[in-house]
């Protein structure tokens, strides 16, 4: 079989290039320029899919992106894409497509039994049943429903393709390249405005590509399109984007476009992105999205071989494909007549034109008669025959009584239908504009512009080639003028032919069949019939939104672009309300389904989120360190030696720090340089602690609250000079602390002469902790007397480390003698490697965050975010000492005075020791008074931190416990699934309570 339905000549396909593709494994031929749909039709294939609910055989209905039936899966090198519209899939050599929603095969589908059972499945049937027995919903009904539902099969493998992104600005964005869009683009471009013209199709021209009869400036439409595009392409201020769908219209004239870059190629270069997201800020937008033809709702209007008339004409003229050999045209609109004429002129037997109008235009009737086409006026289709392909139509005559009388049967292998046209208002609707009902057009059309956009041509219900062109030019001129204030000087092209068609029908047609037996489809894909809509109305669904949700009409992948108007009309009849009072559902973005990968773009793996590394990174990797993610940072969790698990590594690291010395990368801690004459005053207001009397060269622990009174951050702050502080924050808190400081500084205290600068990444920080810390750093530090007297605990001084400037802090988060050395970041690697080498000489160790946590827990130091959770006050944390008693105000002070923050029974920070020293509590475990509390017993608190403590030779834990400060020495329980664990409440300071080790 070699394309038996291909015409002899004509069309936009390249007949010289033959391409082989497969559909459900069967090899077929097509041409360059074909869509899968046109190629299938050329091969005589109409049956391409099964419907969602009843699994009825379905064929190609349209030639555009609104196609409801012809959804296929496409395979390419292990990548699989479901639900692609055959009308949009371009044929390439080797294309592999499969039909969907059928088992075992498209021809024989067991799901088709649903069609026989359909009387049981009216709209919303599932709300009324499947409730008994109760347990069956999860186990039986739902799995069956889920397996039956869905269209294509989901992709099974990770996607190999990449996706690009580009941000663009333009003066005028024109969406759609039919006559109106092209004219608008030309007019706007002539002013010099920056223009982007996009069209979802492979080729620019829209409806002009399938019009063989009209002329523009004496040229064929295609010649005119080619000239126009060539001209636009030559202009520097114009960007032409084919295969590019404007799918989203957002606030402030922000339009998202999806460009399909490689999908049409047989063997795309892997360097090319599969698709590219264009995010365009347009000063003005011209929506030239055209109109789409409406199906007619007659019984059995869904058989393969029944298409929209304009689709039939497009397949013929643009793709050189006849939709059948014996074609019936059923219409309410003039435009379908032209399709009949074109088909007849290509030798197709047009068996009849059935026009439901009593008196179709005489000129059309005359042309038809001249071609020998039978014309049936006042005639409707009342049914069709043929299971997998239509083979005959039943005709009926409309009587003045409103009844329908049978008018016999006509054999055919295709039916072209036209219920008139519906302007495509999706983008306008997305722009938040409100559509208005236009009685003359018989459709909803764009109302007032809410954003800087205007619709042009058929998109606003304006039909006829000449009118559309003129409107397009005018829209382009107006848009450019609004965008850049320049008038266009473009000569309008003049068209002949392509007249606007008259006539339309909405809603279900009357027929003489048994209404309870036949199905007249409104929404093909979701199998919604006219009966379903009437049922919804009968059941009290009054809003169109209810009807939509109850019947699922308009919820298919075309978002109701084909079905909405018919559904509205049927609802209007059933509710006995004018159509405008039924309401209209909103068109949501995207205009057509849009690939997830396009939205995700480059964000995957390391580019999903920045991987922030410190200068020790390479060394850590080389030495087997294990990382943990802390925000975007990679922090070393622990450094296992060979054969060590985490527990062993941490135990060794802890013991080593206490015994000799450890090296820790503290670079990720937030650092903020606070400078200016009012620096101390500013910190005084921000932190709970007093700062004014802190001498230069000294440090203090700072506690930061929010104005509600809860702890949000902490860190050591060193005073480098009267007017200069070095503030540290937690790693995760760095950005928010900085933002909070800026907030207070700029908006509450702009009079203060102080500025803050983030220096987090200016410095690399190494913490050297342990009894031998001084010995370790001494060889490298110059300019600072490290003796205990000259440089006591909580000191800071500037000097050099290996000759590079450093800020040396004597501080400790371990309870040991400790130093933190800050060097300019580029020297961080050198510092780390120098110190790593040095600690080896002292049998020291590098240690990670886990050991840091254990060591600080032994000392009862809190970790904000672990031991506090945003509901803890300084008093709760036992840190009243950190509050400057004489301060009149600081952030959080007033909040702390609120009734619940000074109430009894607050949860307070304590230590816990399990009765059995080997039992390690689980972090997050709850604490109760009873050993085996009843379910629902309120907890007294919870375990915030829990570790094995090498220094204590046992487990230790920190916790927040109701009235905990008063409970030291008392027993409580930590209830676990296998029984409560007895714990003693203690001071949170387990090790070196006097702090002697700090001050050596």
């Amino acid at each position: 079989m070699s394309q038996p339905f291909r015409t002899e000549k004509g069309g936009r396909i390249d007949r010289g290039e033959q391409l082989t593709f497969t559909f459900d494994g069967e090899e077929m031929q097509g041409h360059k320029g074909d869509t899968l749909a046109s190629a299938l039709l050329a091969n005589g294939v109409h049956l391409v899919g099964r419907s969602f609910k009843y699994h009825r055989p379905r064929g190609i209905v349209t030639a555009g992106s609104e196609e409801p039936n012809a959804l296929v899966g496409v395979y390419r090198k292990g990548d699989q894409t479901p639900n692609l519209r055959a009308t949009q899939v371009e044929v390439y050599q080797g294309l592999e497509a499969i039909s969907q929603n059928r088992f075992p095969s498209l021809g024989f589908d067991v799901g088709a039994v649903n069609d026989l059972l359909s009387p049981l499945f009216p709209a919303g049937f599932y709300y009324k049943t499947f409730m008994w027995p109760k347990a069956f919903w999860d186990r039986v009904y739902e799995p069956v429903i889920r397996a039956a539902a869905g269209l294509g099969k989901p992709p099974k493998n990770p996607d190999h393709d990449t996706y690009g992104n580009i941000y663009a600005h333009c003066d005028v964005l024109v969406a759609g390249s039919g006559p109106a869009g092209l004219a608008a683009a030309v007019a706007a471009a002539e002013t010099g405005a920056k223009v982007i013209l996009c069209d979802e199709q492979a080729e620019f021209g829209g409806s002009l590509l399938s019009d063989e009869n009209a002329t523009i400036d004496g040229k064929t439409p295609i010649e005119w399109v080619q000239e126009t595009i060539a001209k636009l392409a030559s202009m520097d201020n114009v960007t032409l984007l084919s295969r590019t769908t404007a799918f989203g219209y957002f606030a402030h004239n922000y339009i998202a476009l999806a460009e399909r870059v490689t999908e049409h190629l047989s063997d795309p270069d892997p360097k090319l992105p599969r698709e590219r997201l264009w995010q365009v800020r347009a000063k003005e937008v011209v929506i030239a999205s055209g109109a789409i033809e409406r199906p007619i709702v007659f019984p059995e209007n869904d058989r393969p071989g029944i298409l929209l008339a304009d689709a039939g004409r497009t397949y013929l003229n643009r793709y050189g494909v006849k939709v059948g050999n014996k074609v019936l045209v059923a219409t309410a609109c003039d435009t379908a007549w032209q399709a009949a004429f074109d088909l007849a002129d290509h030798g197709v037997d047009v068996v009849a034109i059935a026009d439901l109008r009593e008196t179709p235009p005489e000129n059309l009737v005359a042309i038809a008669q001249a071609r020998g086409i039978r014309v049936e006026a006042g005639c409707v289709v009342t049914g069709t025959l043929g299971r997998k392909r239509v083979k005959a139509a039943l005709l009926g005559r409309l009587m003045t009584s409103g009844q329908v009388a049978s008018a016999g049967q006509v054999a055919c292998d295709a039916i072209l239908m036209s219920g008139g046209w519906t302007p495509t208002v999706s983008l306008y609707s997305q722009s938040r504009g409100k559509v208005v009902w236009d009685e003359a057009v018989g459709a909803y059309v764009p109302g007032k512009s809410v954003q800087n956009e205007r619709s042009a041509g058929a998109a606003k219900g304006l039909y006829g080639l000449q009118a559309t062109l003129e409107d397009g030019y005018a829209a382009g001129e107006a848009a450019a003028n609004a965008a850049i204030g320049k008038e266009a000087k473009v000569t309008y092209a003049a068209a002949s032919g392509g007249e606007a068609g008259q006539g339309a029908v909405l809603g279900a047609l009357p027929h003489d069949r048994n209404a309870s037996r036949v199905k007249a489809f409104v929404d093909y894909q979701n199998d919604v019939t006219a009966k379903d809509i009437k049922l919804a109305a009968r059941e009290g669904m009054q809003s169109i939104e209810h009807i939509k949700r109850y019947t699922t009409t308009g919820m298919a992948t075309d978002q109701g672009r084909l079905s909405n108007m018919n559904a509205l009309s049927i609802a209007s009849g059933a509710l006995e309300k004018p159509i405008v009072d039924v309401g209209l559902t909103t068109f949501r973005l995207p205009y057509t389904p849009t690939t997830f990968g396009l939205f995700a773009g480059v964000a995957r793996g390391d580019h999903f989120d920045p991987v922030r590394k410190t200068p020790s990174h390479d060394w850590v990797v080389a030495n087997g360190g294990v990382y943990e993610d802390v925000g975007q940072w990679k922090r070393t969790w622990y450094f296992p030696k060979s054969g060590e698990d985490m527990h062993a590594a941490v135990a060794r690291e802890c013991a080593t720090v206490r015994k000799s010395v450890g090296l820790f990368d503290a670079s990720t801690l937030g650092k903020i340089e606070v400078v200016g004459p009012d620096a101390a005053e500013f910190l005084e207001r921000m932190y709970t602690n007093p700062w004014k009397k802190l001498a230069p060269g000294r440090c203090r622990y700072g506690l930061l609250l929010n104005d509600a009174g809860f702890i949000v951050d902490d860190g050591v702050i060193g005073r480098l000079a009267d007017d200069r502080f070095h503030v540290t924050t937690t790693t995760g808190g760095a950005p928010s602390v900085f933002a909070t400081m800026e907030d207070y500084l700029q908006t509450e205290w702009p009079d203060l002469d102080v500025w803050i600068t983030s220096t987090t990444e200016q410095y690399a920080v190494a913490a050297v902790q342990g009894p031998k810390a001084r010995e370790v750093i001494a060889p490298f530090i110059e300019g600072i007397d490290l003796s205990a007297e000259a440089f006591p605990h909580m000191s800071v001084k500037e000097g050099t480390f290996c000759g590079v400037p450093c800020r040396l802090f004597r501080i400790s988060f371990t309870g040991e003698l400790g130093f933190e050395i800050n060097v300019p970041r580029r020297h961080g690697k050198m510092m780390w490697e120098t110190l790593a080498g040095e600690i080896e000489k002292h049998n020291g160790t590098a240690y990670g965050t886990e050991t840091m946590h254990v060591l600080r827990a032994e000392k009862g130091y809190i970790i904000v975010g672990q031991d506090t959770d945003g509901t803890v006050t300084p008093q709760d944390a036992g840190m009243t000492w950190a509050i400057g008693k004489k301060k009149h105000d600081f952030v959080g002070k007033r909040g702390l005075e609120r009734p619940d923050l000074v109430a009894e029974n607050r949860k307070q920070f304590v230590g816990l020791l399990t009765k059995d020293p080997k039992v390690k509590l689980e972090e997050g475990a709850q604490i109760t008074v009873a050993q085996n509390p009843a379910t629902g017993t309120p907890a007294e608190g919870h375990v915030t931190s829990s570790y094995y403590s090498p220094a204590m030779g046992r487990t230790i834990a920190l916790a927040i416990v109701k009235n905990g400060h008063a409970l030291h020495g008392k027993s409580l329980y930590v209830p676990m699934p296998d029984g409560g664990i007895e714990v003693e409440v203690t001071s949170p300071i387990f090790f070196d309570k006097e702090g002697a080790r700090l001050n050596v």
């Binding site: 580009i166 360097k271 920045p610 400078v675 102080v754």
Partner: protein
């Protein structure tokens, strides 16, 4: 590199191989330099410029350059001062001396960020794969400097020539920024 005459402070790092070298665009790492963040009140602007050796621009998003100096407008009271790496202390001390007694904040941020030099006819296209700024010459003339967002990373962009941009990011973000730039440019290699 002729574009770079706008500033002799930013130079390609001689020791580094280009991250990207395509006919349409190249991406080079810039050599280390002195960077200072200067904050002060309006009254101190002239004195600070004098001490630094390049005027502090007061036009938003503006840059002023002189020999071995560049002063970049970051905000109404914030400038980034650029100078050769080895002049840190001299520049710092000079400004501090001059501004003694006038409220100000001068902070060394030399190591906080790294710079890339992105140049070539496709440079602005490449930046636009991740930055939502109109880089047309009318909207973003040569000399414009701004902070913005590149995908999920904060960056600073300074246009030093029609087809040349300096892209700075905090050091720990640089792998991300450079990585995505290189990945996004890949398609330019396709004929």
């Amino acid at each position: 590199m002729s574009d770079l005459l706008a500033s002799d402070v930013i130079t390609p790092d001689a020791g580094e191989t280009p991250l990207l070298s395509l006919p349409g665009v190249s991406v080079l790492k810039a050599a280390p330099m002195t960077r200072l963040s200067l904050r002060l009140r309006e009254a101190a602007i002239p004195a600070a410029g004098e001490a630094f050796g390049a005027k502090l621009p007061v036009t938003p998003l503006g840059a002023e350059t002189s020999e071995k100096r560049a002063a970049l407008w970051m905000g109404p009271d914030e400038w980034t001062l650029l100078a050769p790496e080895d002049q840190l202390q001299a520049v710092f001390d000079g400004i501090e001396a001059k501004l003694d007694g006038q409220p100000h904040s001068l902070t060394d941020i030399s190591h906080r960020s790294e710079a890339l030099i992105v140049s070539g006819p496709k440079a602005s296209w490449l930046l636009n794969t991740g930055i939502f700024i109109d880089f047309s010459l009318e909207k973003f003339p040569v000399g414009t400097v701004t902070r913005t967002i590149f995908h999920k990373s904060p960056v600073m962009i300074w246009r030093t020539g029609e087809d040349t941009f300096v892209v700075e990011a905090w050091v720990s973000f640089m792998d991300y920024v450079a990585g995505i730039l290189v990945e996004s440019a890949e398609e330019l290699a396709v004929a």
